[in-house]
């Protein structure tokens, strides 16, 4: 799957709208994921996953910052995310199915907060973007 020029424009525009809510959106997406897909909590047995958890907020920011970096390097994703890719492959070893779950919850969060901007073409581009990031993060698994 390839990000077209139109996709890249959509992704950058959408992420600009996210602005400094990125960390909040990241945390909300995680909260939604943990609640809707309880199996995802198995990777966070060391976290307090209660509502408004500081740890979840911190982790939401981490996820958001990584996505912000990705948005800035859409032409060189494997390179930009190389360290994160190593981390997920060798240390975290999150089963690939979970990337789809978090991606879905990120889309739900964006749709809820940016209804007017979340047009069908933007929805499509963001879905492709998150799928591309997920592919890079699982690319060194085996």
């Amino acid at each position: 799957m390839v990000l077209s020029p139109a996709d890249k424009t959509n992704i950058k525009a959408a992420w600009a709208k996210v602005g400094n809510h990125a960390a909040d959106f990241g945390a909300e997406a995680l909260e939604r994921m943990f609640m809707s897909f309880p199996s995802t909590k198995t990777y966070f047995s060391h976290f307090d996953l209660g509502h408004n958890s500081t740890q979840v907020k911190g982790h939401g920011k981490k996820v958001a910052d990584a996505l912000t970096k990705a948005v800035g390097h859409l032409d060189t994703l494997p390179d930009a995310l190389s360290d994160l890719s190593d981390l997920h492959a060798h240390k975290l070893r999150v089963d690939p199915v979970n990337f789809k779950l978090l991606s879905h919850c990120l889309l739900v969060t964006l749709a809820a907060h940016l209804p007017g901007d979340f047009t069908p073409p933007v929805h499509a581009s963001l879905d492709k973007f998150l799928a591309s990031v997920s592919t890079v993060l699982t690319s060194k698994y085996r």
Binding site: S36, T109, A112, H113, H123
Partner: protein
């Protein structure tokens, strides 16, 4: 599906506000735009060449409404989704030849559309309830496949 009393009432309260025609059309339209391979079932629908064409296509809107009305019926029978969707399951297998993966895709698109329409009101708790239902409906529609 196993829903708590709170989940059931939250779910029903939200559904009462859903414009089935509007949301159904948008959900099906977005499925066809975001996952273009799903258009394989709708070659007879006319112009699906651009996102705009898809979203404005009257056949897409009409069919989206039909699908969502059926989903809405399912919400009245959450204790027996398999029974409720048995005939539709056979139809989707024997006549329509639809891969059940498509039910999961549409279910998730529906959740995104509900989030877009209801914003903050579509809380993580409500999403959780709806995720259980869309998964249940997808499984029910796949149940009679052979």
């Amino acid at each position: 599906v196993h829903l708590t009393g709170e989940e059931k009432s939250g779910l029903t309260a939200l559904w009462a506000k859903v414009n089935v025609e509007e949301i159904g059309g948008e959900a099906l339209g977005r499925l066809l735009v975001v996952y273009p391979w799903t258009q394989r079932f709708f070659e007879h629908f006319g112009d699906l060449s651009t996102a705009d064409a898809v979203m404005k296509n009257p056949k897409v809107k009409k069919h989206g409404q039909k699908v969502l009305a059926s989903f809405g019926e399912g919400l009245k029978h959450l204790d027996n989704l398999k029974g409720t969707f048995a005939t539709l399951s056979e139809l989707h297998c024997d006549k329509l030849h639809v891969d059940p993966e498509n039910f999961r895709l549409l279910g998730n698109v529906l959740v995104v559309v509900l989030a877009r329409h209801f914003g903050k009101e579509f809380t993580p708790e409500l999403q959780t309830a709806y995720q259980k239902v869309v998964a249940g409906v997808a499984n029910a529609l796949a149940h009679k496949y052979h």
